[in-house]
Subunit: 470 residues, 2 copies
Amino acid sequence: MRFVIPTVLLAALSLGGLVAGPGCQTEPPAGVIAPAVYADIAERLRADGLRSEQAFTFLTDLTRTAGPRLSGSPVAAAAVEHMRRVMESLGFETWLEPTMVQHWVRGEEEAAIVDGPGKADSSLTICALGGSVPTPAAGLTAPVVEVASFEDLERLGSAVSGTIVFFNRPMDRARIEPFAAYGESVIFRTEGATRAARQGAVAALVRSVTPRIDAFPHTGLVVYDPQFPKIPAAAVSTIDAEMLSARIKTEPALRIRLRLGCDTLEPVLSANVIGQIRGTTKPEEIVLLGGHLDSWDLAVGAHDDGAGCVQAVEALRLIREAGLKPRRTIRAVMFMNEEFGSSGGRDYAAEPRRNNEKHIVAMESDRGGFLPLVFAVGGSAETAKKFSGVGGLLQGLGLSGIRAGGGGGSDIGAIVQKGAIPMGFIPASQTYFDFHHSALDTLDKVHPRELELGAIVLALMAYISSEEGI
Amino acid sequence: MRFVIPTVLLAALSLGGLVAGPGCQTEPPAGVIAPAVYADIAERLRADGLRSEQAFTFLTDLTRTAGPRLSGSPVAAAAVEHMRRVMESLGFETWLEPTMVQHWVRGEEEAAIVDGPGKADSSLTICALGGSVPTPAAGLTAPVVEVASFEDLERLGSAVSGTIVFFNRPMDRARIEPFAAYGESVIFRTEGATRAARQGAVAALVRSVTPRIDAFPHTGLVVYDPQFPKIPAAAVSTIDAEMLSARIKTEPALRIRLRLGCDTLEPVLSANVIGQIRGTTKPEEIVLLGGHLDSWDLAVGAHDDGAGCVQAVEALRLIREAGLKPRRTIRAVMFMNEEFGSSGGRDYAAEPRRNNEKHIVAMESDRGGFLPLVFAVGGSAETAKKFSGVGGLLQGLGLSGIRAGGGGGSDIGAIVQKGAIPMGFIPASQTYFDFHHSALDTLDKVHPRELELGAIVLALMAYISSEEGI
């Protein structure tokens, strides 16, 4: 009742064979990759990676050299130069591809409940949403209206005119998959300001999109619809969202003062950072490993997405250290400007050199540097079936195996449109939104072994893809 | 190519269907539990658990009320009373079963490299191993001999007579499964002192069994063989183990001063703490959920094994809150004295009331309160096949499914000997030995969602076991 696993891996097997409800045949059908030839390679990648924990060293260096890497900022430029130098010093074919990025700056910001004459204001812990317009320099003060949905908002009609709309929709903790709960709640962050402006609101305040009740505001992009006025938008910590909500119930006339000093400056020339091991027989066919080099400005972006960047670099290093000479080119791309709309990923795909290349596989790591649980293979069912042959090798790395479907990501979206098959490991996600886009996304939240396991999985699957093709 | 999963759960499905290399049939064979009847129950347990995160509240209360719960200590006695009260207040049938435990106390302790006349000693961060005999009150000073294996030690013969033997065997980080690496290294902690004493050594110093290089010594039991003299034994932090090893290479005559004030007092009457929901139709058949209530004394034992205790209590609470009336009895047992040899587990199994009971299933959670990855079903292949039918329900809770084999644990060993089938979730383990048996095993290392998911899985599988029998 166990999956077929090469004998050499049985000793290393962590999770053991899963028992399928239905019975399984014992012989892999034709068209499925035979794992035996890769078993020894998997072993070498694993041993080198777990002994060295080099991905964490790369991440330490990146976050110390170039901490909060907001697109367009001098720190983001330093990150580009740092990663270029790291990949060059590792001996990879390394270059930059220019991409224009927007340049938003935070400035000073504050918010408070205005408690009226003779009383001190009660400050609220907030941060401007990325891309927000500023308030007037002196701030703005307005009554606040709380809503938990766009339906709530629409029902209020013009009653929200002149107010600050407070979107207070908690993430649904009951969902097993935090990314699904995030998807339900993040629309208030991205679209709330526009929806509120349509009804005459003067600003939007959004409950931070995190399942935890804490004092840290979580930022992220606000998307304005050019048809409507752009109004200032900020996130409020969940503790203060709860407090504000409680006070509104007893003080419906409560007013908030909001001051955001943020600004959008002229666009800046930045770059995607690229390094590769050239393929020996089909160099024009590319297996891409990607992460995004920019981060939010409230922390050093250790999980989002320093982790994905260093995993791609470490995967290349592991392949090189194992003495492997891949048939097809394996390329690490550190995309710029994911957080302001993935323009780096689109520019990468549109770059004229792509015309002489064929991307067969694209793997993006942008769900944090957590323990890899399963490996997703997108594209057709045939492709997933083909790669299912190496599920046992992945079990030897602690994953449960190969999953059909998924594997996409925002930066590789454009190259997947051009035919690359999306693949990638799905890491543990239960803790991700505790840190996401907040001051908590720091190096100490990343575990060296868990981070490294992601790099090892990428190295193995990139190498197998480069040998087997699609 | 996906496993059969009830439609109701597809939306909640986290990992998706794994692709088996070989093709799978689409109809579950006879003798396999039909999941449909439990799908709604799984949903309720999940929603209540993840919303409330009550296991973490139980753990917070336990670790605050009764922190380091060393067997035989007043704090362990307070933990017994606390958990009894918690279960009673939840309305479970609650009682204590007495068990005698040994009572070891740490006392003052220190170690240093003796740097000779006119120089300050270089202190070493150590802790006595549990059960160690003390040194003379003034301490002992002796030359040190480093070994990395018992073979090394044997080759040295009587050359180690009068010395402190320093066992410096790092955990093998290259292994994917930290528990396997722990197993290889922990024998120097358990048996090192006896092996060294056999060759005339006066004390044993053991590199802490952790994969990290840090300043925290990790304790754990030392096992003496009564045939040989009992010599004092202590663990040294990995940073100091590396430093000591480097110095020994250039200063082979180096001496260490060791002073351990530990002592073994008279045995103490303690108790296993038991709470249960009585079965409606077969109350004498028991599904046991267990953890151990004692911990080491260097921290509050949040992962080891406060987590397992509160998960058992929370599983009972979830079952009760869901309005379920199990056919067979579901019982939570907080075993005493696992760390000094699992005597609580043995006394539980030997207790005369067991004669009127039949334990059909025993689940122990003692691998930390981490994310559950897979559910192990011990016993025969038939049993695993029977439970494979609910693999899809477990996928809805984020696990990869059912694994045949495993599920045992030290506390349930004795009751498994008497016929109970061992089962249990296998949690993520990559970070466990960072904290294990050290001052780092604190509440902040436990994540409320990950802890709760373990409790939810236990609740679901205990309820299914109680309904289906074995």
